[in-house]
Subunit: 204 residues, 2 copies
């Protein structure tokens, strides 16, 4: 085997592909740019991943499997709904601040090819909302929460946490903030969002 300096061309390719695909999308990405970015010959991309589609799928799956555990945190642990919302909000926002292209990439490509998520869902059941819904129903019946549907509550949680990252250019425009100011807004949301949600659903 010929393994010169870096020991793992395959991972270098995946890393470069991740950068290019996540910023430019499937259609905007160029195989040559990925090769340059990885510092290797373009033919290597095909040697390791056959073609653009398969390389893209490798990147997409790796991105999705990085995000899914974060979502499952809120769905499947045993703390109260209230604690879950607090934990999820701070953790998720911190997580995305480290991977800023992730939400937009996934959403964009899921819209481009909606069948993709069907395959993923079939293989691993990456998102199971049943337990969360049951817990909401229980806490509603116990009088801890106002009448609330689990589906809609989860949509609200996702919306409030994810959307600001996806709509960053729009938000920067109307708040007239620069990148630093935007980050400050997001930082505030780590606590504000959970209070906003809890205020709304808590029975008092």
């Amino acid at each position: 085997m010929a393994r010169t300096k870096d020991e793992n061309t395959e991972e270098q390719i995946l890393e470069a592909a991740k950068n290019v695909f996540q910023t430019k999308g499937m259609d905007g990405a160029r195989m040559q740019e990925i090769a340059d970015n990885a510092g290797i010959n373009k033919a290597m991309l095909h040697y390791y991943y056959r073609n653009k589609q398969l390389l893209f799928e490798a990147v997409f799956k790796s991105a999705f499997s990085l995000l899914a555990p974060q979502l499952n945190k809120i769905l499947n642990d045993d703390s109260s709904i209230e604690d879950k919302i607090r934990n999820f909000t701070t953790n998720y926002i911190s997580f995305i601040m480290k991977h800023p292209y992730l939400p937009n990439f996934i959403i964009q490509e899921l819209n481009r090819n909606p069948d993709f998520i069907i395959t993923i869902q079939k293989n691993n059941t990456l998102l199971n909302i049943e337990k969360f819904k049951a817990q909401v129903d229980l806490e509603v019946s116990q009088g801890n929460l106002k009448p609330t549907k689990g589906d809609q509550l989860f949509i609200n949680i996702l919306s409030l946490n994810i959307f600001p990252f996806v709509a960053k250019p729009l938000i920067k425009a109307f708040t007239k903030e620069d990148d630093k100011g935007f980050e400050r807004l997001i930082e505030q949301r780590k606590t504000e969002v959970s209070e906003f949600i809890i205020n709304s659903i808590k029975q008092h």
Copy 2:
């Protein structure tokens, strides 16, 4: 002048371009497909719009100027914050149900080229949030609302209203709904979202 049957080739092109660009994005769209879609020769696209970039910008601006008035509704009328939220939520959701590709298209392309919104903002000041913020401050000081920042509240309103459309494939997956079920969920949100927001911020 040569005007045969339809009287307005230019608008046919724009309509076809809208369909193709909004579903496939700038990079995924093909000039030939737009031409076919409009039922005309590809050269006509260049005759009327010079090149792909300019045709795209025409579509983008027309899409944005369709959306902006909807946003300004909430920002600049004289009703109470509470009424504004209710009106905005029902109106906005109804509006997007008629233009389902709009939010995703705008967000996707704004992320691809963030400078775009700077140009738009400079030309027309499409989004002015100042009045809304002042009104929030006032109602907070009057004791109608809990301590709330206008910026963050507006981000929350946008998030809860727009995100579900943008993340449709994801939401369909974890709620296990088909298109019909998804529409039912959205329909519920016309009232649920505003109650959710108002519950959270109203002083009581």
